[in-house]
């Protein structure tokens, strides 16, 4: 018997699969071949899904609720977990939660008494059933204790990308792209089945992908060219590309029409750096070449001038806090002219010295990009003619987080706009929205804002609304305007602050407190965060921790209660699939897929929805919980004006009952209310979709329809926001964020980004010459996100790929320092060190070391015997290395020596 289900162990899911069940035993996973016609990756299933059978039967699973018997917490303390009944476990938790409710949800500092941490990228949501309804019913909860979110993600891309083009994640339009400059984007490891499938098709079609990265990743391996760039110098490389386009090629090769009509390039910038505005309407002005006059940006029939000598206009210049900085006849220069001048110094020769990439290579790549851009070409999609610009620049994690992330994202998006390759076929696309509503519906999230741009829910920086009293401990609302204030925002703030500020809260913020109850699911910050030794010490202080536990691990080692939830092949949930989400996950279909039990839960494991219902019941939140499900928190609204499958709110419902209602609502949604098949139908069919127009991949038609412009290249709004934030902070005598405030530049300049890590090294007591190597990490496709480090199968197959058994270093470097293949080496910062076996490769810069994935386990069964370290132990949580968006990067300077 083959059952249809899905795997969503990583953000590049879901993969639609069948699981073979023989005599009541799940034995093998296969692609759901029936899904090939709707799935953009041929309906195939990623390697991680093949670990699901072992995940189910792993004898190391926690299979009954457990409680801690040793009150002392620490890495060296045996927690003394003993099995208890579900009743005892839930009663204990409910008693704590009811106590919190009785005393108030917020503590004396104003922070939620209850905190929760979930694994990244939204993967837990595809497994946690109706827990979101419990969270919604609960009220304020601190979800800002990071386990990787915010610091190990594409952080600047998430924030700036969504700001500029609803690109929480940004992808090349791979099916139509001909030239892809990939700065560290490891799409073959991170793009999931669809990414791999599409890029393989593109390669066969002839796409030229240039991989710019310090080591030859699997993506570099699959690229036409590898450019080994020095770590953290990508902004210089990208600035030089932009320089070439603007200073070394005829202007008419750029997409001038796009720049004039769809960007802020023609807006006039006043002497103080803010737009010149129409005195009456306060709309930004541009220079109409036809009428030779400054007109409002949206005046009909203008011929916006992109360049020219500064022109005078009757205008207002409005600065931070609505201050009028200039009034009357003001001299303005187009944003485009300012951009051209700004990039003048950033020549390939300048960049060569920084990036260690020959100027000729940079110049050639810029020329190839421009040649492939095909400015002027069009393509018809679903009957609509759109520009075709088959060139893309994609960015990797360590390129888009920490210092330099803003500069890279800005340069990438500006370069794209110079040739009109933004949100059009072949160019770069935002593929997810997470900070704007409605979540997951990009086009609908586009609403006109001020100045001709999209609206964006920036956190307030004006005197009236800004507050130094954050809602949660990581203070995202006070410190990071771009993080917005939606359900995902807590995880997109400076999530290390929650951990750091427990030791010492910086001036101006309420003292950061320990959460009284901490709930964990599908996350292991003791392994996956920065500075893991310090994280462990903090976790040991948490008074009451509840962990949904698959096996024992390094984080639930500090827990008080362990709860066994039913895993992938044991549980039920309906999720949305298709449409456009995550990096390469833009489909030509959308709909739903069901996860269903292939076998009964092992031991006493329980379906997550049943656990959530029981918790809601015991905490007295059942009405609100059921109401949240009815509202659609479980994925589909159960009641609309066309259908009503809502649950009775006053009683508890079994998981199957809840998901039957959700299935019926999903059927109704897909058929506009005509059909209402329930759980049984979905169990048989597994998924159901309807077409999703390819046109909906692109924002461009929506921009044309709404008459909007991309807020590029000039960042007047961010400049203003930064100045306002600076004033607010200084008004409260908060100066510890001053370095971060320098990021708010209208046209970002190169800063010595690698030097920041050298400065940090000195602060740790080291000298750069003594710690000459850059230690980086890269994604292991076999493990990333999967929570599958305890799967023997995954270990076995992953080991076929270099770097899973030790630190990758350049073979010649190894020879120079006398290290042979397999020998033990010590990698150290001035304050910490790890040991690893040497893996000698040619595909890595001589000054770079690479530790793949995140291992270093000491409690997780199987994984604790890998003898494989992680860089996370070596990377300090550091305010100095935190950028304005609140993120840091996976980079650290280290020494390397052979262990005698």
């Amino acid at each position: 018997m083959k059952l249809k289900t899905y795997c969503y162990q990583c953000v590049a899911g879901p993969d639609l699969l069948t699981v073979e069940v023989r005599d009541g035993v799940a034995t093998a996973v296969e692609p759901n071949f029936g899904a090939a016609s709707v799935h953009p990756g041929g309906g195939k299933v990623c390697v991680k899904a093949y670990g699901l059978v072992q995940k189910l039967y792993n004898p190391n699973r926690v299979l009954s609720p457990m409680k801690r018997t040793n009150p002392r917490k620490g890495r060296d303390e045996d927690p003394g977990f003993v099995p208890i009944s579900w009743d005892e476990a839930l009663d204990t938790i409910a008693a704590k939660l009811n106590d919190v409710r009785a005393r108030g949800l917020l503590d004396e500092s104003g922070y939620p008494r209850v905190a929760a941490s979930f694994g990244g990228g939204g993967t837990p949501q595809s497994y946690m059933g109706t827990l979101p309804a419990f969270l919604a019913a609960w009220g304020p909860m601190d979800m800002g204790f990071g386990s990787g979110q915010g610091v190990k993600c594409y952080h600047s891309e998430h924030l700036y990308g969504e700001f500029w083009h609803r690109g929480f994640t940004v992808s090349a339009d791979t099916p139509s792209c001909d030239y892809n400059i990939s700065c560290g984007a490891n799409i073959e490891a991170s793009g999931g089945v669809v990414g791999v499938w599409r890029h393989a098709n593109a390669r066969e079609r002839g796409i030229k992908r240039v991989q710019v990265e310090p080591h030859l990743s699997v993506t570099g391996a699959c690229s036409a060219e590898w450019v080994p760039i020095k770590p953290k110098t990508d902004p210089a490389f990208l600035f030089a590309l932009a320089h070439c386009l603007l200073h070394e090629h005829p202007r008419e090769r750029l997409d001038l029409a796009f720049l004039a009509a769809r960007t802020s390039a023609p807006y006039l910038v006043g002497p103080n750096g803010y737009y010149l505005r129409d005195p009456a309407t306060k709309k930004p002005l541009l220079w109409d070449a036809g009428r030779k006059a400054a007109l409002a940006f949206d005046a009909p029939g203008t011929e916006p001038a992109l360049e020219g000598s500064p022109c005078a206009a009757a205008a207002l210049e409005i600065g931070p806090d609505q201050e009028v900085l200039g009034e009357g006849e003001l001299l303005g220069e187009t944003a485009f002219s300012k951009l051209v001048a700004h990039l003048k110094p950033y020549s390939p020769e300048w960049a060569q010295g920084i990036c260690d990439v020959p100027a000729a290579t940079i110049r050639r790549i810029a020329g190839e990009y421009l040649s492939h851009a095909r400015v002027g070409a069009t393509v018809k999609i679903d009957g609509q003619v759109l520009p075709l610009r088959p060139v893309a620049i994609t960015l990797g994690k360590t390129v888009t987080n920490g210092w330099g992330g803003y500069e890279c994202c800005w340069a990438r998006t500006v370069i794209s706009s110079l040739v009109g390759a933004l949100e059009v076929p072949g160019g770069i696309l935002g593929t997810t929205v997470r900070l704007n509503k409605p979540l997951g519906e990009r086009l609908k999230s586009v609403r006109p804002g001020t100045d001709g741009f999209m609206s964006y829910p920036l956190n307030p920086t004006d005197r009236e609304h800004w507050s130094p009293k954050p809602n949660i401990r990581n203070a995202y609302r006070s410190m990071v305007p771009l993080a917005a204030d939606g359900p995902w925002s807590q995880a997109l703030g400076p999530t290390h602050f929650s951990w750091m500020f427990l030791d010492e809260t910086p001036k101006g913020l309420p003292r950061v407190t320990l959460p009284e109850v901490w709930i964990l699911y599908r996350t292991n910050p003791a392994i996956s965060f920065w500075d893991t030794d310090r994280i462990e010490r903090q976790m040991a202080r948490f008074p009451f921790t509840v962990a949904f536990a698959y096996t024992r691990d390094e984080t639930n080692h500090f827990a008080d209660i362990l709860l066994p939830d039913a895993v992938d092949l044991e549980s039920t949930q309906l999720i949305r699939i298709g449409g456009s989400k995550f990096i390469e996950q833009f489909w030509e279909h959308e709909g739903f897929a069901l996860r269903q039990p292939a076998v009964a839960p092992q031991g006493e494991a329980r379906d997550f929805s049943d656990i959530a219902t029981e918790l809601a019941h015991r905490v007295g939140l059942l009405e609100k919980y059921n109401a949240a499900i009815n509202r659609g928190v479980a994925g589909v609204a159960l009641k609309t004006d066309k259908w009503d499958f809502s649950l009775e709110t006053g009683k508890t419902h079994e998981a199957a009952e809840i998901w039957d209602a959700v299935c019926r609502a999903a059927s109704a949604e897909l058929t506009d209310g005509a059909e209402s098949q329930g759980l049984e139908w979905w169990r048989e069919h597994g998924l159901r979709t309807r077409p999703f127009s390819r046109l909906d991949w692109y924002l461009y038609p929506t921009f044309v329809e709404l008459g909007l412009r991309f807020e590029l290249p000039y960042q007047e709004r961010l400049l203003r926001v930064g100045k306002e934030l600076e004033r607010r902070l200084h008004e409260h005598d908060m100066h510890w964020w001053d370095a971060q405030l320098t990021e708010y530049q209208a046209l970002p300049a190169w800063k010595d980004f690698p030097g920041m890590w050298e400065t940090s090294l000195r602060a740790m007591g080291g000298q750069p010459d003594d710690f000459p190597y850059w230690l980086l990490t890269a994604r292991s496709m076999q493990y990333a996100w999967g929570g599958n480090v305890g799967m023997q199968l995954i270990k076995e197959v992953a080991d076929n790929i270099a770097g899973h058994k030790g630190v990758i270093l350049n073979a010649r470097t190894a020879q120079r320092i006398g290290v042979a293949e397999g020998q033990l080496v010590e990698i150290a910062t001035p304050t910490a060190s790890v040991r690893a076996h040497a893996v000698l490769r040619q595909g890595i810069r001589p000054d770079t070391l690479l530790l793949l994935g995140q291992f270093d386990h000491w409690a997780t069964p199987l994984a604790k015997d890998f003898d494989m370290p992680s860089m996370n132990k070596l990377v300090p949580m550091s305010l100095a290395l935190t950028d304005a968006t609140g993120s840091g990067a996976d980079v650290v300077r280290v020494s390397l020596r052979r262990v005698a």
Binding site: D23, T27, E30, Q54, L216, V218, A802, A811
Partner: protein
Amino acid sequence: MTRWAMIADLRRCVGCQTCTAACKHANSTPPDVQWRRVLDMEVGEYPAVQRAFVPVGCMHCADPPCMHVCPSTATRQRADGIVTIDYDLCIGCAYCAVACPYQARYKTDHPSFAYGEAMPSEQQGADPRRIGVATKCTFCADRIDAGLAQGMVPGVDPDATPACVNSCIAKALHFGDADNPESNISQLLAENQHFRMHEELGTEPGFYYLWDKRR
């Protein structure tokens, strides 16, 4: 005649090991036995270095050295080119394993399981006949035969196609009848430049590597 053959398109392969894992599922192989696996190779020196991922396994040679050396006739060749092992004849001398230039053969002397004791899924797949004898990729012959019996086309219909090919997320692996000029395999070979591993040994593998279009 029919000659089953496999193709690995090296331009497409990303080394993800999905085929490795799928093979382990489909064939219930014990830990560290990988009838299909993908090598991670580097050629050249920094910075002029290329990295390639190369699926390997039994090449189902037309002139298989393993078969010639086998003292028990356990290793044989079917008319359709598939090289087989009769687990009931094999004495487990491993001569075939050292004769194979592709390191495709395994011998497991004792039952072994992912976590020591057999999990239910491993109990289902355990085959005591495979202990102490040579094992290797079968091109999923059972699946091919069952599919053919139902009128399906191996390499086209998933239920008649080797598990590794079915699983490949890069569409790098292909399977079909090399003797049929109309087959997917024959067309790919006609359109692209290809080689076989260690061709100089004269084993005539039934496994081809594509590396570029024919120009």
